[in-house]
Subunit: 306 residues, 2 copies
């Protein structure tokens, strides 16, 4: 790509052109020529709220995200972007996220943009690509960004570094698991949702979550525990209202915002450094060297990157 083509693409991106956005995302996702130049010239709007929605497999996150986006588009007339992050296994390229068919209802809604992103496991799952694509969305004129990711563990902690508000979704059946969790997942949540709450055990789980909750490290926010039936839209308005309230409260917490920025910057820096070193032949050389007697991984790497 010429600098002129990039300039024109960026102009379209900043005007909210969806095809230009999709093109930029693909370039960044594949580390294609021009992607660095694009990232260095975008103007992501800082104030756009990023909502992370996470929870164990089977909690109905996709349906919830879809219902939430639909509600926001219809009742708030806001432009919403959905990024579904798929932490693919480094070995078999399988997918933890189920089919995205539930979201096809929005394909013809110009107020909702949907994109899934398969992160390739290794080198920190969510990581740089998700951060970069979120910044593209922030530059493309959306009013709110919803990021869906799966898992109970590291990927969740990572989404908390990216999102202004983190929503953790459970189902009534999650009860037994949750009682044994003392912190971790409890610590990253700004809001809890018990989805499929028309099923047995929902109230019990709500009470159980409420008793284990304590205030977030920033003051002025008590974590709500909400009930939804995403499939039929129950509780979605209240979920939006609570997210909105949290955005207001957390927006005033500059230390928290700075920490988020710092975490993102470290990820991006780490990624950029690896790219700079051009590791094309790294794997072959590594395997060859490792067969020699006295091979030491740390010395090998120190010599490579010096």
């Amino acid at each position: 790509m010429t600098e002129q083509q990039i300039t024109s693409l960026l102009e379209q991106l900043h005007q909210g052109d969806r095809r230009a956005l999709a093109r930029c995302i693909s370039l960044v996702e594949n580390d294609s020529e021009g992607s660095d130049s694009i990232l260095r010239q975008i103007h992501p709007r800082k104030e756009i709220p990023v909502i992370g929605i996470t929870g164990p497999p089977g909690a109905g996150k996709s349906t919830l995200v879809s219902a939430l986006a639909g509600w926001i588009s219809e009742h708030q007339k806001l432009n919403v972007a959905i990024l579904a992050v798929d932490p693919t296994s480094p070995f078999t390229k399988g997918s933890l996220l189920g089919d995205r068919l539930r979201m096809t209802e929005h394909f013809n809604n110009p107020g909702i943009f949907i994109r899934s992103l398969a992160t390739r496991g290794a080198l920190g799952g969510l990581s740089a690509k998700t951060i970069e694509i979120t910044d593209l969305l922030k530059a493309a004129g959306f009013d709110m960004i919803l990021i869906e990711t799966v898992g109970v563990g590291q990927s969740e902690i990572e989404i908390a570094s990216l999102a202004d508000t983190t929503v953790v979704v459970f189902v009534p059946e999650s009860g037994d698991e949750i009682q044994t969790i003392k912190s971790g997942i409890m610590e990253i949540a700004d809001l809890f949702v018990v989805n499929k709450s028309d099923r047995e055990g929902a109230d019990k789980l709500v009470r159980s979550l409420q008793t284990t909750l304590h205030e977030r490290p920033y003051s002025g926010w008590t974590i709500p525990v909400l009930k939804t039936v995403a499939f039929s839209g129950v509780g979605i308005e209240e979920l939006f209202n609570q997210i909105n309230q949290h955005i207001q409260v957390s927006g005033k917490q500059s230390t928290h915002k700075e920490e988020l920025l710092y975490q993102r910057a470290l990820r991006v820096a780490s990624q950029q450094l690896l790219k700079k070193q051009r590791f094309e032949n790294f794997k072959a050389e590594l395997i060859e060297a490792s067969a020699l007697p006295g091979f030491n991984l740390y010395r090998f790497i120190a010599e490579k990157i010096s």
Copy 2:
């Protein structure tokens, strides 16, 4: 530390001295002076099997690891190291792993070495520190290394990059969750364990796991589903036998081994590169720059690391 002190420490480490090992681990864990030099001079023994034990919170992983280590020490007369990795939240330094009291029974057993490691969330959880400390253990004369980690998500995928054999532990109550998982966790497991299998639902979960299983990408291994009651030692001998069999089978799969080495190398390289750049003032400069109009994270980082 002088080079002479390091040489002497390394000599003790390679002779299996536990105090020297503990000292080296602390130096590496804290990135203290001398840690790079130590890592570049160790001789980790390649053939030492690393067993990753993972699964959701509450599955009884610590009890299982403790029982397994005790059995191996008593019946196989092997030296076992246990590394309990704690994916701490980047915000509140909380801990997902429960108390380690269950393992205190081994404190006076010279054949078992126990260490927990709090990874600091950000920059890839498990990551470099776990890899480095595992290499210290491989240099210190253990016959087998057991790494316990918590979570369903990224941290699990990462343990699969480090371990020769990955054991995924569930409890009978995990049943409802598991049926919705199509891949991901299923793909990293070399062995499944249903722990606390004296509880209701164990056989149902075993059958459910068996029906969803397919062969691992390398041939010659069908994933077993074992039942244990770790607390009373039931099923531990069979677990060891199956792990042992898997080690034999997977040892012949050089492509898989090479992929593991490559994943580890990328992690370590990424970590080394960040260290080299000396990021001490990075956070302060980042926050200052981000307040200026037209701030762009990618341009900021590109200028920093050039």
